[in-house]
Amino acid sequence: MEHIISVLVENKFGVLARVAGLFSARGYNIESLSVAPTLDPTTSMITIVTVGDDRVIEQIMKQLNKVVEVLKVVDLTETHYLDRETALIKVHTKPEHRDEAIRIADIFRAKIVDSSPTTYTIEITGDVDKVEALINLLKPLGIKELIRTGRIAIARETTRTASPRREPALLKT
């Protein structure tokens, strides 16, 4: 099953390599990975989307927790969460397709952020299904280039405090 794991780490030299190295050394999958600083500039949040059975996920959580610079690990899939991804899609637009491209973008509330005589660049933010649906619809027009950020996710505040399905965090104390 797919899991989204947030890993709060100290912003130190080599931490990302240690976290990524842990996945490769133990044969765990990384479907996507994104990293950026948090509000506190001494820490960063790594969001990892991975796939594995319960035993593997339990090991991944424990192994991540073991890394000295890791401060907190949360399997968001154990709670209610929101996830988002952004994609920039550069599509070929022959003259007869330019209207079609705009229409498709509109349906998805995506924005055209750049344009050239032969291309549009479309920006979309949404959950994975939405991003993928848009990509699929644009494929027939011809996608020249595509870049995705990988997913980020956050727990929903109300449900997290009210009724977590299970203790979500392996908190380091």
Partner: protein, 592 residues
């Protein structure tokens, strides 16, 4: 007053109580070596190869429980210790390795002797750091020692660029470590411990299975108390040997691939397994799907990742093994049921185990022509009166030593378990001897392994370290030859060692005593002479080149599927002259 990085380094080590550093100099660490030679508190042991420095530090650490310290140069100095780091990581040995690095302004430029020390060592260290600023050096060293020795111990690497060792900063050694993301759990969860106690009281056929974790945690007394109050037999992993007296009536000795028949049978039939600081290594479990098929599992370990990694734990307890066992013992004592009752309840199970032991004890047949390796180990065991610290290398001799050398105390058995590193034994013995100059330190090795670090004969000679090396010379990579005999129809691909040096002359070349025993009746006198000798000794003891180590669970087999002796096909093939040809065509196996 400001101090240079090199001075800060030495001062910091002094604050950590370090007495000995194992290492070898080079360009970028010269400043540190220069400061080291101008003081007396910390002794530098110059090794002849950096790999040996790492293993010496491991031997020192395993024997003392303190962190072993290594100091080497950048590039090749660092890459040479990688095996030692990996070995220490697998066996949870507290090590702090300091490596030199090119100056910060050169890092990343493929400078002379530059290597990505932090990158290379990342997967085989518990933690590692590049120090970029001399102002961070003391703090980093303090943290390195703390991380290496706390929780589940392990190697930590601190990479020090040349300019950091020469730059200056105010020195103040921190008295506290605060690491936001590192805080090992010590005491066990009470609820879980109660469940474990209840499971123990209910069990009919329990086994305590102890690993190296019990030794790092200094939990031997607690293990013994648990075994005695509950009358549960105790088996040990290769790393756990010494955590429970091998001569104790409740000792089952080592389990696993070359464990006792009775031990593995007990595992196979157990209804409760109490795993203590052990990690269910594949050499221990054999075929996972048939491992302890009837047992519920209590697993006590300081490292949460060890729990449920390969084997499901019904009652997991994360915590320091010593603390948790203490809690458990207190709880067991407060429960209903007196010891006499426990004893009678347990009698049937212990009797069954005894029956297995009598059915197939460890055996070998010594005649008056060729010395059996097991005979040598037994003699060493008897003649050292069980008082020795024993370091082994890797191979058959290691397994025989584990079977026949019944250790009685923790920290007297130094061996490479997880990584199985040939070349570990001799330097590990030297490290232990350095820690305890007065104690008897014995290295049990074989010609294959010994030749991987024999250059350290010079270190032994220089420091007059009275290590006694018993080299069981069978002319083969014996363990490899055994597998080839059993699973590759006796094709001895690269297991026959051919030209073996004359070890007596080799010892003499380094100015130390060399002794040789070719016949069985020469073994005892040679060992006696070696033990009487004040300095280091290398004993070249010729042993049967074709002896195989049993019991053996073939790879992929389960605990009850042990081979107990050479299979008939092998015996017949030998009679027909096969399996020997290669050797007979060679120049002769051993120097006479």
């Amino acid at each position: 007053m400001k101090k240079s990085g090199a001075e800060i380094f030495v001062e910091s080590l002094r604050h950590e109580g370090v007495k000995t550093v194992f290492g070898l100099p080079g360009g970028v660490v010269l400043k540190i070596f220069d400061v080291l030679c101008q003081q007396k508190d910390i002794e530098l042991v110059l090794t002849r190869h950096e790999q040996a420095a790492a293993h010496m530090a491991e031997g020192y650490a395993k024997a003392t429980g303190k962190a072993g310290v290594v100091l080497v140069t950048s590039g090749p100095g660092m890459t040479n210790i990688v095996t030692g780091l990996a070995d220490a990581y697998m066996d949870s040995v507290p090590l702090v390795a300091f490596t030199g690095q090119v100056s910060t302004n050169l890092i990343g430029n493929d400078a002379f002797q530059e290597a990505d020390n932090v990158g290379i060592s990342r997967p085989c260290t518990k933690h590692n750091v590049l120090v970029k600023n001399v102002a961070d050096l003391a703090q980093t060293i303090k943290e390195a020692f703390y991380i290496a020795t706390s929780g589940r111990p392990g190697p930590v690497l601190v990479d020090i660029p040349k300019d950091v060792s020469t730059d200056k900063a105010e020195f103040k050694y921190p008295d506290r470590v605060y690491l936001r993301g590192y805080n090992p759990t010590v005491t066990g969860n009470k609820h879980q411990i109660r469940q474990a106690a209840e499971a123990i009281m209910k069990a009919k056929k329990p086994v305590i299975y102890v690993g190296g974790g019990a030794i790092f945690a200094n939990a031997a007394d607690e293990v013994r108390e648990l075994a005695e109050i509950t009358q549960i037999p105790v088996t040990m992993t290769l790393m756990g040997l010494g955590s429970f007296p091998g001569t104790h009536p409740l000792s089952l000795g080592m389990l696993g691939m070359h464990g006792g028949y009775w031990t593995n049978m007990a595992m196979h039939h157990a209804d409760l397994l109490i795993a203590v600081g052990a990690r269910f290594d594949d050499r221990v479990t054999g075929k996972l799907s048939e491992f302890c098929p009837e047992a519920r599992v209590v697993h006590i370990d300081i490292d949460p990742t060890s729990i449920k990694k390969t084997v499901h734990a019904h009652i997991p307890i994360v915590g320091d093994v010593k603390a948790v066992l203490h809690q458990l013992n207190v709880m067991l004592r407060s429960m209903d049921g007196n010891p006499a009752e426990v004893k009678s309840q347990r009698a049937a199970w212990l009797k069954q185990v005894e029956q297995w032991r009598n059915e197939h004890p460890l055996t070998y047949r010594q005649d008056d022509r060729v010395t059996k390796p097991q005979f040598v180990i037994e003699k060493l065991y008897q003649l050292t009166r069980h008082e020795a610290i024993v370091a082994t290398d890797v191979g058959q001799h290691q397994m025989w030593a584990a079977q026949y050398f019944k250790g009685s105390k923790p920290r007297t058995w130094l061996t490479s378990g997880g990584l199985g590193t040939m070349g570990f034994g001799f330097p590990a013995a030297i490290g232990a001897q350095k820690a305890y100059p007065e104690k008897l330190v014995l290295c049990i090795t074989s010609e294959g392994s010994f030749q991987m670090n024999l250059q350290e004969l010079a270190t032994v000679a220089e420091h007059k370290l009275p290590v006694k090396v018993a080299l069981l010379n069978n002319g083969f990579h014996g363990m490899v030859r055994q597998w080839q005999d059993l699973f590759y129809e006796g094709r001895y691909s690269a297991s026959y060692l051919g030209k073996i040096p004359d070890f007596v002359k080799l010892a003499e070349a380094y100015g130390i005593l060399g002794l040789r025993a070719v016949k069985p009746d020469e073994v005892e006198p040679v060992i006696k002479e070696a033990l009487k000798h004040k300095g280091p000794v290398l004993m070249d003891i010729h042993t049967d080149p074709y002896e195989n180590c049993y019991p053996m669970i073939p790879a992929g087999g389960a605990h009850h599927e042990m081979m107990l002796e050479d299979p008939p096909e092998l015996v017949n093939a030998r009679k027909g002259g096969a399996h020997k040809r290669k050797v007979d065509e060679g120049e002769g196996v051993l120097p006479a």
